[in-house]
Amino acid sequence: MDATLNEWAGRVRNAAETGKTLRIRGGGTKDFYGQPTTGEVLDTTPYRGIASYEPTELVVVARAGTPLAELEAALREKGQCLPFDPPYFGDGATLGGMVAAGLSGPRRAAVGAVRDYVLGVKMIDGNGDLLSFGGQVMKNVAGYDVPRLMAGSLGTLGLLAEVALKVLPLPVAERTLRFAMSEAEAIQKLNAWGGQPLPIAASTWQAEALTVRLMGARAAVESAHATLGGEIVPDANSFWQGVREQTSTFFAGDEPLWRLSVASVTSPLGLSGPTLIEWGGAQRWVRGDQGAEQVRTCASRAGGHAVLFRGSQSLKASAGTFQPLSPVLARIHRNLKQAFDPKGVFNVGRMYPDF
């Protein structure tokens, strides 16, 4: 075993034996996300680098501490990308953090989420065992799909060491269009367009303006533009970057930021506070001090859930970051934690207070 992994496994075993906890940390860019957790920091950044990259296989394998920027640059050089636009939220973002946080950016509705691209993981479980699940092939149903389960588990189930990802070619052509439109009309349009074979890669509605990004073959982008109309947005890259990285003005300031994941056809939520819609209507960002109960009820009525994405420590403490689980799901979650991390070593409480 690699020396770093050996050392990590030792630390995990030691923590398990002595009843200590570990806080897994890459670049720390997503420290704000989830509940605060305690324990000695296990810094993943020394374990970095691309282990293998074969453009013809559409697969890249890299160590968890690899800076996301380094990974994306290597892919770009070969005309490929991580199509789900993972947000960095800071310079130091790592591959491991990307998978553990499970966050996807503007193109998610069109191309799938982080989890859809995770093919394999090498990880250390709470017993200090180095385990490998999945692999480097597109189709693999041997054993349960643990690699995808790791995506979005916030490091509560294990310490990611290495990840294999499916990658895709960069789109050949793109164009960003803007339409003046009310919220209700935008939701209606986005869903109607979604039922047509149009190369819509991303969408954002905010402040009475709908912005749509087309990506695909040149001919497809041209004909979609002809069908849809709209005004071409000149500095499109920086616009989408602002949404992906939450640097646009909508996200500025200290007001709480709620993320609601709902059925795409859900009509305007009617919550007070500014709203930004993404993912063809399936992701709604809402600013303001809404009352957690109200936001959560609203989300579950719309077939989904709400996340207190950013908020003060005191709000997080009272409202919790994530939507409470049904009793059956809560039991399965505790059991899964027990299955992978029986002594409760990793990121305790980061997702839900009871594990």
Binding site: D116, V141, A263, S264, F322, A339
Partner: protein
């Protein structure tokens, strides 16, 4: 061939029967041998077992009652869809109840605006696309068995199809799954939005082979039908050139709607059966599909043709209309039954390997075919590196089934050594349960058992399948751990 299930239960048949009778109408319980016989195997006919009972519930409340009864009396439960599975996943447990979802046949809702369909698990895969067609939509995963197999079975196996290179597997096309735990508690995986709170349990219910929960309702995503699709048939005078052409297409930055391959044995089996019009002199044919707007397709077909020609295709035929296209695909989709016509029995392997190793694998299969003196036709989901060698044998000839099994094992072990997996889409079931030890360490197998126990602590759902007991792993390593069917060096395990 008997599969020795080493997970057994002491079951009081009279007690479970009495309890089930109190919850179900009598026609929903099968007990007589002649009624049970049709349930003794699935699509993997080489392995059979007779169940204690078969139950055919019609409502979720009945499913919950059955599960509560079996849980209370510690009786194993084997969920079953259309039994087209090819790994013995739905094969009964001798001490257990088969829970058939065959009567859950309703499409509950189609919503063209949100592009979703809510269906019961016994709905056939193709039926969803047929109903969605009125809205210009379809359900993308299209296993070749789609006329018969059910959505419940598709989720349980995470099934793929000939278009999943571009449109994804079942796991990528399902939003929400409703089901029941072994305790009879309702549980929901996923949501109506694109993600759900907590762990991504939807990811593990897909491909769970009936070991984690019984699925009673599925919300699937529907995809807009492309305006146009066209397929190129590329013929090769050498199988390995065809294998390399697959990697060349991907390397050119093209993600075809489908990229499939058949060798000469397969086309020769298919042609008299389907009359697809394949060139029978070629050693291999690739089916390479482009879909999108007419302009997009025209552009992509030209790029595909250029790559395929450069890779050494001897001739190229492009479908000129939808009838052509469907005929070309009909040949591919009928490959299994077509091979079934030219041999008394066949076994379908399902290894997946990195695309660049295709040529190497084909050569090894050729050698193994000689070694075991059994014919093998090759049908591949080439774009995904997913192989379906069809090993032909005659179960009535002494020793042939054993030879076929050993042949298959060697192919799958080689798949693992080439950096791949023992199963791409058909599941582990009983067929490959021992081979799990070729791919996973004892620590990894133990982790799978713990994951299973998180859902089903008593191990009552589909016991003995999917994940081998540690005793089986030991036995496998002792008997096969040292065999080395090919000189290929072991690549570092990922």
């Amino acid at each position: 061939m008997a599969f020795i299930n080493d997970v057994r239960f002491e079951v009081d048949k009279r007690a479970i029967l009495a309890r089930l009778k109190s919850h179900l109408p009598s026609q929903a319980i099968l007990v007589d041998e002649e009624e049970l016989r049709p349930y003794e195997c699935d699509g993997l006919t080489a392995y059979r077992a007779m169940p204690l009972l078969v139950v055919l519930p019609e409502t979720e409340a009945q499913v919950a009652d059955i599960l509560r009864a079996c849980h209370a009396l510690k009786v194993p439960v084997v969920p079953r869809g259309a039994a087209t599975g090819l790994s013995g996943g739905a094969m009964p447990h001798e001490d257990g109840v088969v829970l058939s979802l065959a009567r859950f046949k309703k499409i509950l809702k189609i919503d063209p605006l949100s592009r979703t369909a809510v269906v019961q698990p016994g709905v056939r895969n193709l039926a969803v696309s047929e109903v969605a067609a009125a809205y210009g939509l379809y359900y993308a995963p299209d296993p070749s068995s789609q006329i018969a197999c059910t959505i419940g079975g598709n989720v349980a196996e995470n099934s793929g199809g000939v278009h999943c290179l571009k449109y994804g597997l079942t796991v990528h096309n399902v939003l929400k799954v409703r089901g029941f735990t072994i305790e009879g508690d309702a549980i929901e995986f996923g949501a109506d939005g694109l993600d759900a709170a907590g762990f991504d349990l939807l990811a593990i219910i897909n491909g769970s082979e009936g070991l984690l929960a019984v699925i009673t309702e599925v919300t699937v995503k529907l995809t807009p039908k492309p305006e146009l699709a066209q397929v190129v048939l590329a013929y090769f005078d050498d199988v390995q050139k065809a294998g390399n052409a697959v990697a060349d297409v991907i390397a050119a930055g093209i993600i075809p709607g489908g990229l499939e391959m058949m060798d000469k044995k397969a086309t020769h089996a298919v042609e008299p059966y389907v009359k697809a019009g394949y060139d029978l002199d070629a050693e291999a044919v690739l089916l390479c599909e482009s879909d999108g707007t007419p302009a997009e397709v025209a552009e992509e077909i030209e790029r595909m043709k250029a790559v395929l020609e450069k890779s050494g295709a001897t001739s190229l035929v492009v479908s000129q209309n939808e009838a052509d296209r469907l005929r070309f695909w009909a040949g591919r989709k009928a490959a299994f039954p077509a091979v079934g016509r030219i041999t008394p029995d066949y076994m379908c392997m399902d290894g997946t390997i990195p695309r660049k190793r295709l040529a190497e694998m084909l050569e090894a299969i050729e050698t193994l075919s000689g070694k075991y003196a059994l014919r093998c036709a090759n049908v591949f989901h080439a774009g995904d590196g997913n192989l379906h060698p069809l090993i032909m044998y005659d179960a009535n000839q002494p020793g042939e089934l054993e030879r076929a099994t050993a042949f298959g094992f060697e192919i799958l072990e080689l798949s693992v050594r080439l950096g791949g997996t023992i199963t791409g889409e058909h599941g582990v079931g009983v067929e490959k349960v021992d081979l799990m030890a070729a791919q996973f360490s004892p620590a990894e197998i133990s982790a799978f058992h713990r994951l299973k126990a998180a859902f089903d602590p008593d191990g009552l759902l589909n016991p003995g399948k999917g994940i081998p007991t540690l005793a089986r792993c030991r036995e496998y390593t002792q008997t096969r751990g040292t065999t080395s069917p090919s000189p290929t060096a072991t690549p570092p395990r990922f």
